[in-house]
């Protein structure tokens, strides 16, 4: 079975090279038959890599420990879902996942465009096939998941206990789908540059792919933060670790791209900028892959020093060079159709939004590589931690939040004083009133948090006003009831109102940020019966007990929470610590702390349990209060919901696009 896996992998590499070469050749000699053959080949590659992946998956599910990879990342006690996740637990499998996702997306793109974009498609196929060829060859030569062991062990080494968590099967595939998805608009942008067909057709054709990639990357990042929060057990959700940053930068640049292409669609501006952004976004996803697996930058969770570094670095630099090289070559054709009319306009808010998003991406990059630069250039080893990132991100985030509030209501081209007053006076007044209320409640410092809270109100206000005005206008026109008008408003303008829903989600993320400075934490050592005070709570350590489970012993603590002032009972939690049997991999009896969290929209109470390991009835506790933490996860749902609305097919849009395609794309010779 695994021979099938390996040979389909080999075939995929060879055939992707064919698809790459023949697409280019067929386009240069203008032979449709050759191009069609190349396309069929590329689709076949998708099928082959799918087969290869299915074979690896089968190996995991059937406990085929003759494969080194399966033996290293699974054992006979694993639940099915974790057997499946073993696929991407290591270097080899996760690279295969990159390749199969990319090749399946490529196949879909080719099938989607059978009768469209015929001038662009050969180049799209060529470029995507080139990347697939690179990855499959890398896998075959340096990271083969089908590597066999000289003998077959009776049982595998199992999956690291840290990974026995929903985050393990949600986060990596989602994030990878996001990374790989940006390859599609990248390939189309390059094809547009090569062919000189620089109207918006390439953007419109890839709009949903871009949104899909963004959807997955957003979800992947938030799930990753959620996983860190609940599983890693240090009380936080983001450590500015290089691997986290590697996932954040493409998201920032991708978000900037997503917004600025709207300006190109509406006003024919920012053409050069948009191509640059899509090149940067996709290159940063490759850099992400590089950082995670090359050991160049040290992180608490890099995969390994696997020797892949130089090759991925080459791919990253080659992608940048190819993208920007083509851009410079086509510079004369990328003339803007319109100029910026005024600094105070909707166009300019998009421009400033881009600058700030890129600013945050730049500072993240700088902080991530600075230790590397410092050591290489000055020989001084330094570390850049959360304080740096927080200090820079805070003012930039506030500026971004302000733009978020301005954007829905500010006029195109030039916002007159009258327009500004009419649209923003009321929201600003309400926001400042809200701020005054907060100050009166004693919430004055840090100033950044107060300002953020005020701006969150501002954003909510402007978006609510937009929904209200739209619904009212619809009612006037159609006589529909409020609810019908509201729903139809959204459904008939999915891009706009779906976008506003996403923005509400973003405001909720900032709400979670506001809670950060007000975090409280207390550490104490207690014996059963004793209690500790944290925030508004009195927490009683009731008892400590242990129980065995397959391959582990768990020690648990029962804690009861009471309101410190009223004495009212709030609830109970059971934080635990698990001790695993030595599984023969030289790691010994590694413990695993399982935090307990009591969560509400107001705050999270987070428990870390550190029992005495000599059997005495005494334990250390760390209790953290994270105000407003839950809004981060609520935001995740709101943003994904909003994105689904934006992506959803729209009949009106389809009709409009059909007209545009008919006008712009020349008929095939």
């Amino acid at each position: 079975m695994t021979t099938i896996g390996y040979f389909s992998l080999l075939s995929a590499a060879a055939i992707s090279a064919y698809a790459w070469g023949m697409s280019v050749y067929g386009k240069l000699v203008n032979r449709k038959a050759i191009i069609a053959s190349a396309e069929r080949a590329a689709v076949a590659v998708g099928g082959l890599l799918f087969l290869s992946s299915a074979s690896l998956m089968y190996a995991f599910l059937t406990h085929d420990f003759s494969l080194e990879y399966v033996a290293n990342y699974s054992d006979r006690t694993l639940d099915t879902i974790y057997l499946i996740s073993g696929f991407w637990a290591g270097n080899q499998g996760s690279l295969l996942m990159w390749a199969v996702f990319l090749s399946v997306f490529t196949a879909i793109v080719i099938i989607q465009n059978q009768h469209k974009n015929r001038d662009l498609m050969p180049w799209v196929t060529a470029i995507l096939s080139a990347f697939i060829f690179f990855f499959t060859t890398l896998i075959i030569t340096m990271a083969n998941p089908f590597q066999k062991l000289a003998f077959v062990p009776a049982d595998g080494r199992g999956l690291n206990p840290m990974l026995h968590n929903p985050g393990m099967y949600l986060h990596p595939p989602t994030t990878y789908l996001g990374y790989v998805g940006f390859g599609i608009p990248f390939a189309f942008a390059m094809a547009a540059l090569i062919t000189g067909r620089l109207s918006d057709v390439w953007i419109r054709s890839t709009r949903r792919w871009t949104l899909l990639a963004w959807f997955f990357l957003t979800a992947g990042n938030i799930v990753g933060a959620w996983w860190a929060y609940y599983t890693l057990g240090w009380g936080g959700y983001w450590g500015w670790d290089p691997v986290e940053n590697a996932s954040f930068m493409p998201w920032l640049i991708g978000t900037a791209y997503l917004h600025s292409v709207m300006i190109q669609e509406k006003k024919g501006m920012l053409k050069i900028w948009n191509v640059s952004l899509v090149v940067l976004t996709f290159s940063m996803t490759i850099m992400g892959t590089l950082i995670t697996r090359s050991g160049i930058i040290n992180s608490v969770h890099t995969f390994s020093n696997s020797g892949l570094g130089p090759y991925l670095l080459f791919l990253f630099l080659a992608t940048l060079a190819f993208g920007f090289g083509l851009l410079i070559y086509r510079l004369p054709l990328l003339k803007t159709e319109n100029e910026l009319d005024s600094i105070i306009s909707r166009e300019s808010t998009f421009l400033f939004n881009n600058l700030i998003l890129l600013g945050i991406a730049f500072m993240t990059l700088w902080g991530t590589i600075f230790p590397f630069i410092s050591e290489a250039v000055r020989g001084v080893k330094v570390t850049v931690g959360a304080p740096f990132y927080d200090q820079v991100a805070a003012p930039l985030g506030i500026a971004l939040l302000f733009l978020l509030g301005l954007c829905p209501l500010i006029a195109w081209r030039r916002a007159s004083l009258d327009n500004l007053q009419r649209n923003f006076l009321y929201p600003l007044l309400v926001s400042f009133a809200g701020g005054a209320v907060l100050v009166a409640m004693g919430i004055k410092r840090p100033v950044g948090a107060l300002l953020t809270a005020v701006l969150i109100i501002f954003v909510f206000m402007t978006i609510i006003i937009e929904f209200y005005r739209g619904t009212a206008a619809r009612r006037r026109m159609t006589g529909e009831g409020y609810l019908t008008a509201f729903t139809n408003l959204i459904w008939k303008n999915k891009r706009r109102y779906g976008g506003y829903i996403i923005h509400i989600g973003v405001a909720m993320i900032f709400l979670a940020f506001v809670g950060g400075p007000f975090k409280q934490q207390v550490e104490e050592t207690l014996t059963p019966g004793q209690s500790m005070n944290v925030g508004n709570y009195r927490i009683v350590f009731e008892r400590m007990y242990q129980y065995p489970q397959p391959k582990q012993i768990t020690i648990a603590a029962e804690m009861t929470l009471y309101n410190r002032y009223s004495g009212k009972r709030v609830g109970t939690v059971t934080p635990r610590k698990e001790f695993f049997e030595d599984n023969g991999n030289g790691e010994g009896n590694q413990p695993w702390t399982r935090v307990a969290v009591r969560s509400s929209t107001k705050e999270d109470v987070y428990f870390i349990f550190s029992p005495d390991d000599t059997g005495k009835q005494v334990a250390g506790f760390k209790v953290i209060i994270n105000p407003l933490m839950r809004w981060m996860w609520i935001a995740g749902f709101v943003m994904t919901f909003g994105t689904i609305i934006v992506i959803w097919p729209d009949e009106g849009e389809k009709k409009r696009l059909a007209l545009i395609y008919a006008r712009e794309v020349p008929s095939e010779a």
């Binding site: 695994t2 085929d64 003759s66 033996a71 290293n72 066999k148 062991l149 000289a150 003998f151 077959v152 062990p153 009776a154 080494r157 050991g295 040290n298 608490v300 995969f303 390994s304 020093n305 696997s306 100029e339 910026l340 005024s342 600094i343 400033f352 600058l355 700030i356 600013g359 730049f362 500072m363 700088w366 902080g367 600075f370 410092s374 080893k381 330094v382 570390t383 850049v384 931690g385 304080p387 740096f388 200090q391 820079v392 003012p395 930039l396 050592t525 023969g584 991999n585 030289g586 010994g588 695993w592 870390i608 550190s610 029992p611 005495d612 390991d613 005494v618 334990a619 250390g620 760390k622």
Partner: protein
């Protein structure tokens, strides 16, 4: 250049310049040294004022048999010594010198991965008495490459044992 372009250019310069200045000043005020025990001791000798009382990060291997502490009382003491990040071997005290080892004191809950032989990364302050008081401690497993080399040896041993005991399934 017309007035509008000038306004735009000024706005861009202000924003980009502002971001640059923000990055620069934040880096200056937050960047911390990341040193091995030998490096921080050497620096303390050469330039004491720069080190004593300043927040630094020290990364080193936890020396065997030097961990004193209790998970319940959360009082920990251990010694760390220089190590290469890519090659971790458990280190015995005798293989170190007073110039490349320091005593770390930490009050708090240690990470699950912490134990002798791992890389402990401590943020804190070196006192004039030579003791490093840590505010946070992180522990890092040996790099997976190293681990997998060791594991291959373990697996080979296990495989030989399995084979001997007749537990091995025939290779496909």
């Amino acid at each position: 250049m017309n007035k509008k372009k000038i306004k735009l250019l000024v706005a861009l310069i202000v924003i980009i310049g502002g971001i640059g200045a923000l990055v620069y000043t934040s880096m200056q005020s937050t960047v911390t040294y990341y040193m091995k025990p030998s490096e921080i001791l050497a620096k303390a000798r050469d330039d004491g004022a720069a080190v004593y009382g300043e927040r630094v990060r020290v990364g080193g291997i936890v020396i065997n048999k030097t961990v004193k502490g209790n998970a319940a009382t959360r009082k920990w003491e251990f010694m760390v010594t220089d190590g290469r990040e890519d090659k971790i071997l458990p280190v015995a005290m005798v293989k170190t010198t007073p110039n490349n080892r320091i005593l770390v004191r930490y009050k708090g809950i240690v990470p699950d991965t912490f134990k002798e032989g791992v890389i402990a990364i401590s943020d804190g302050v070196l006192g004039k008495d030579g003791v490093f008081t840590a505010e946070t401690v992180m522990a890092k497993c040996p790099s997976k490459y190293e681990a997998s080399q060791r594991n291959d040896k373990e697996m080979a041993k296990k495989g030989a044992a399995d084979k001997k005991a007749g537990r091995v399934a025939p290779s496909k």
